[in-house]
Amino acid sequence: MIKIENLNYAYKTGAKNQNQALVDINLEIADNSLTALIGHTGSGKSTLIRHLNGLIKPDSGKIFIDGTEITDPKTDLRRVRFDVGLVFQYPEQQLFAETVYKDIAFGPENMKLGADEVRRRVYEAAEMVGLSEKSLEKSPFELSGGQKRRAAIAGVLAMKPKNLIMDEPAAGLDPRGRDGIFALIKRLHKSGMTILFTSHSMEDAAKTAERVIVMDKGKIFAEGSVGEIFARGGELRKIGLDTPQVTRIADKLRDMGYDIPPVYTTAQMTDAVKKIIGGTNG
């Protein structure tokens, strides 16, 4: 479980723009949950997730990972990083080794695991993200864009973290690549991982996550199940987030007097409409 208590953080860039990046954040991420962290560029979401494995230290407040306070100076942050895997935005830009295999092995090797264990983990991680054994011997730079991203994610998965945090995992991918990444996230979640991912897109959150946290101007703006959050479409639009078309369609129909429950996927929408048709016929 990830627990954040009264976290504050300001960027240190001279006196001129002392913009508080994070203001009084309190959060709990339950074990084996799948959470989307939504907000604009500059809303503080990337800063927040970099706190979760000690890459940034807060000005005040505490962070606990499975009961260990990682904000305690005595905590061994390297150990924390093996429990909290962090996949950066455009992670393929960090690939560096001659082969995909060696790149994925980088994390486990840093953990000082035995050669057999490293090997086992590399194969396991590659299988999880859907990379063939043949591609493991290729240079990472020979892979396609989507494959590169998968290889980079495998590099983090090979450390077998209990918690996986991903910054804009689908950024820059085409629709097929996006679907692939979100299918992977769902698979990892099913296998028992705790997953938190950031996104600009309410649509991605609606399709993938169980819970949604909305950030605005360094604060938690809203938090709840996907259904609860999308029921507040108007508020979200006010802070400039674009709600998916389906939510807007449902809102408009409701305003016209139709009995449409809060929906956030196209399948729910068509079901709702079909139910009304069924109701009038029967």
């Binding site: 960027y11 240190k12 860039t13 001279g14 006196a15 001129k16 970099r50 494995n53 890459l55 390297r78 990083r81 093996f82 895997g85 962090l86 950066f88 992670p91 830009q93 960090q94 690939l95 560096f96 080794a97 980088f106 994390g107 840093n110 953990m111 730079f141 590099g155 983090v156 450390m159």
Partner: protein, 264 residues
Amino acid sequence: MVDILIGQYLAGSSALHRTDARVKIILLILYAALLFMIKKPLSYAIFAAFTAALTMTGGIGFKTVMKSIKPLRWIIIFTAAVNLFFTKGEAFFSVWKIAIAAEGIDLAVKMTVRLLCLITASSLLTLTTPPMRLTDAVESLLSPLARLKVPVRELAMMMSITLRFIPVLAEEADRIIKAQTARGADFGSGGIIRRAKSLVPVMLPLFISAFKRAEDLAAAMDARCFISGAARTKLCENRLTPLDARAGAVFVVFAAAVMAAELW
């Protein structure tokens, strides 16, 4: 977050901002030459005061100056220490086995003031001059070399692009370091070879990214009709104004004061 000031420009409209970039470059060179000729404490005081006055004229805050000094602090401390401990002379006082000469203190202080003045003055040039004006000025000052077939225009363009990409690449480096740290990379321990090896996961992605950026930039320049070596016109040509004459006069007065202090 990285915060690098090298080659950064702070928009403004002070007299220092409006002075022709070529004039500023020439005066900076003279300033540096003069700075390394002086010996008397009074001259150093005049230099420090003049530099402070320039900083205020440019509307540059103390914090900003400190930021440009900070990355070079180790060089300053090292230089001061070398002068302090290795200057021979009569022991002024001694701690344990280390004797410190009066000459050492004198030299250490002077070297520190010298470096601080020089760093501040050079930062003032880049802080108050838009990079394009700066490159235009360099191009203009070096133009006699073009006759010797030195590709001055290309060099100036390279300089301006380098300045433009320093902050971008610094931020990128910071991001890659963080990302590899998240994968358990350890940059701080081990011998020199181990440390050098531990930099590969940072340097390689950084190079690849720099090449990618260079390729993108080349396409973006091509798309806007850039042809290497072709004559270009300029939106703002560096042109001398009465202000530049006044800047020159101020400098002459300052130089005269320093000389007087030296000869006194």
